[in-house]
């Protein structure tokens, strides 16, 4: 029998139609003393309106600098079961697909070595196993590795890359998000497990500009699938949509940001040269419109949460990159960019912040890129720019004015 706590406040959260995390905790608590104390502790947090966890950034497994989030309870005397309550991050399979067998395996391990509580998944993308003690970490990592699983990233390192469902089950995927994610994860195992960067570095890959994995907002490196060919139109299907009550003018033409669609009541026309590749028309007339090759990705860099300089969204570095195995161009880029950042970045400075501090020019020259209008929303506004030796060599205006 595990210890039983009175949980009047949490019991409130077992009511109501949405599935309850409290019910989950109680299921685990019935069998597992750690989970039982976790439940008791959470009730106390609800009563006192504060958290009772301590930082714990030291514990891990031999050889790795990440994958374990150390956690200790401030009220260890009262709740000895959660005195140590570390989280283990297991690198998820790309696309978050599983078999029942794999799920049961994870459960078997976790019932034996942990609290029985999990997150499918953490917002990093990893499988999160919530709550174990220091002595269990090596056996856990061993069993997982013998069965083909490895720990995910944490700390000042490459974080576990993640992606959208992509070509596995989405007709709009223009790049193979699962394969790219798997391949890059394998390529950067050392960087993932042995923190050598100034701070964290996240890669998220999505198959198209719909961005179902929030790559543009949550990844230092955002890989967003896109296309260059014309949008193929099945006029009969468009007419079908119109017949079924879609107001093509209002819902499609007027909302197109490129202002490049016309509809005469019978035929839909798109001026592809003005298309911004936003996906609105394609997703709203699903099946009637189709992007066509060449397919590739827009590569953006720099998003991070608000701390220190304020939040940023990623910005364009490569307007278009082909993404074909073995993905050498993106791998080379990642290596060059992270080496530059490791060399010049301050502790806890994300790569985007370093670019802002030292300038886009510095960064673009490092990775061997020339400036293009696709990298900016608009050119600079002030007249206070820098000149480098050689910028006017070859008289750049001459070939233009010829």
């Amino acid at each position: 029998m595990t210890k039983k706590y009175d949980t009047p406040l949490l019991d409130e959260l077992e009511k109501g139609p949405f599935p309850s995390f409290v019910t989950e905790m109680k299921k685990a608590a019935a069998k597992n003393p750690m989970a039982a104390d976790e439940l008791g502790l959470l009730e106390k947090s609800f009563r006192d309106k504060v958290t009772y966890w301590k930082h714990g950034g030291i514990v891990g497994v031999r050889g790795y600098g990440g994958g374990v989030i150390g956690r200790y309870c401030e009220l260890a005397d009262q709740f000895p079961g959660v005195a140590h309550f570390h989280t283990v991050r297991i690198n998820q399979p790309a696309g978050l697909f599983y078999t029942s067998e794999a799920i049961r395996f994870i459960c078997d391990v976790w019932d034996r070595y942990g609290s029985g509580l999990t997150n499918f998944h953490g917002s990093t993308g990893d499988i999160i196993l919530l709550g174990t003690i220091t002595d269990n970490l090596e056996p856990l990592a061993t069993i997982f590795s013998l069965n083909g699983f490895d720990l995910g990233g944490s700390g000042s390192a490459m974080r576990t890359p993640s992606c959208c469902v992509g070509p596995a089950r989405c007709e709009w995927a223009m790049i193979d998000t699962l394969d790219i994610t798997y391949d890059l994860t394998q390529e950067f195992q050392d960087e993932l497990h042995r923190p050598s960067f100034p701070y964290k570095f996240k890669i998220k890959t999505v198959g198209c500009p719909v961005d179902c994995n929030a790559a543009i907002a949550r990844a230092d490196l955002s890989i967003i699938g896109t296309w260059k060919g014309p949008i193929e139109i099945d006029q009969d299907r468009v007419r079908d949509y119109a017949k079924k009550g879609v107001n093509i003018q209002e819902e499609i033409v007027n909302l197109c940001p490129g202002k490049c669609i016309t509809w005469d009541g019978n035929n839909l026309k798109i001026d592809d040269s003005d298309c911004l590749h936003c996906m609105h028309c394609i997703t709203k007339l699903s099946g009637a419109l189709k992007p066509t090759p060449p397919f590739g990705a827009t590569i953006l860099i720099g998003s991070k949460a608000p701390f220190v300089i304020g939040a940023t969204l990623s910005w364009v570095i490569f307007p278009f990159m082909e993404m074909k195995p073995p993905y050498q161009e993106i791998k080379d880029f990642i290596r060059k960019a992270t080496e530059w950042w490791s060399e010049y970045g301050k502790n806890r400075e994300r790569i985007g912040e370093l670019i802002l501090r030292l300038g886009m020019r510095e960064f673009l020259e490092t990775v061997g890129l020339k400036p293009t209008p696709e990298m900016v929303k608009e050119p600079r506004r002030d007249p206070f720019w820098f000149w480098k030796e050689g910028d006017l060599e070859g008289k750049p205006w001459e070939s233009w004015l010829k």
């Binding site: 949405f18 309106k49 399979p93 019932d111 090596e138 699903s286």
Partner: protein, 366 residues
């Protein structure tokens, strides 16, 4: 692949740097066959969609809600259901839902019946409210100003009809971050909730000496509010400069900032990550403080309902919350929601100037 858990574990056998298992091990045969060759999908009901391949093959997806925090018992239950109807195949979504992948049409309705009988909640597909992206909160994090799971549960109980049946003008993406670290990507959600502090950290001078480094702690403060206090071998905080971000506490445990009465919840709205129609947008602060009131945060729920209802009533089809607000204008947004506009709404941080109105174009709303 048979999985093996040895009775006695020899940790010397641990393999390193093998990475995750290959995803192909987990793809149903129909997906393997039609990988990258999908033609279209149809949403048959809020919890059911079918994807049709160019080959004519089909796969049905049944989506159910999950609290993200799952006990192994529940995982075993969904594994058992997947065995019965899906040849064992299932997946999870970025927003923490569970998806059962059915290759045999005749099993779709029996699966739906069984899920309903087991009290799973189906929905979340299409223009409606999906599950909430959220962080750990009091369940596991040292810097949480509010809980996350409890707030999520309270929100989803309120908006459950919009998950299971009712439509909204476009998708409404909710997110909860329990502190301003915002692990959760709340900065780009339609409606998001952030735990905040309103008082400066307390300084435990004795512990500071043992636990913290002066240069690291000073460097952690984005507003340079931390200065040395050589007499105490500790630090001082310039109150007028501190914006309660808790950054210093993350670096130095001797600077606790948690406070049961003065911590609260802020609401930010209008963010989006997709590129459809308008570019991705940040969420903006519309409610700077609501009390931290577990277990059900009634003030937060009521405030959210007001914003949500105003959006549903006012937005045109396909408009996300942020697009709706941009069309009607912020002055009108505050008028239709009745939210009082306060000092905290005016930016005084890095990008403040970009948020000031540098035009005489104004709507008169009163």
């Amino acid at each position: 692949m048979p999985y093996v858990i040895p009775e006695v574990v020899d940790v010397k056998q641990r393999k390193t740097d093998i990475g995750p298992p290959h995803y192909k091990n987990f793809l149903p045969p129909v997906i393997q066959k039609n990988y990258g060759n999908w033609k279209e999908h149809q949403i048959l009901s809020p919890g059911l969609m079918v994807h049709i391949a160019n080959s004519g093959d089909k796969i049905w997806t049944i989506r159910v809600a999950s609290p993200r925090l799952l006990a192994t018992d529940t995982l075993r239950e969904i594994a058992e259901i997947a065995d019965k109807y899906c040849d064992g195949y299932l997946r999870f979504t970025t927003r923490n839902n569970i998806e059962f992948l059915v290759s045999d049409e005749s099993k779709v309705n029996p699966l739906i019946e069984e899920l309903k009988a087991r009290n799973f909640v189906l929905g979340g597909i299409g223009s409606r409210v999906s599950n909430v992206v959220h962080t750990q909160g009091w369940i596991h994090c040292h810097s949480a100003a509010v809980d996350a799971s409890g707030l999520v549960k309270s929100l989803m109980d309120e908006f459950i009809d919009y998950f299971t049946t009712k439509e909204t003008p476009n998708k409404v993406r909710l997110a909860v971050a329990c502190c301003t670290n915002m692990c959760g990507a709340v900065h780009c959600s339609d409606i998001a909730f952030v735990g905040i502090h309103t008082k400066v950290p307390r300084i435990e001078h004795e512990r500071f000496k043992d636990l913290c480094e002066l240069p690291t702690t000073m460097a952690a403060c984005p507003t340079a509010a931390i200065i040395p206090d050589p007499a105490k071998k500790s630090i001082k905080i310039k109150e007028e400069k501190c914006m309660y971000c808790g950054n210093c506490y993350s670096v130095c445990p001797a600077l606790p900032i948690k406070d049961p009465e003065n911590d609260g919840v802020a609401i930010v709205v209008g963010g989006k990550v997709g590129n459809l129609r308008t570019p991705p947008k940040f969420s903006k602060v519309v409610v700077a403080f609501l009390p931290n009131n577990p277990p059900r945060w009634p003030e937060v729920i009521k405030a959210t309902k007001k914003i949500f209802d105003a959006y549903v009533a006012g937005a045109k089809k396909h408009e996300r919350v942020g697009e709706w607000i941009e069309r009607i204008g912020w002055e009108k947004f505050f008028a239709v929601t009745g939210i009082p506009f306060t000092w905290q709404h005016i930016d005084d941080w890095t990008y403040a100037f970009e948020t000031f109105r540098t035009t005489a174009q104004i709507k008169w709303v009163k």
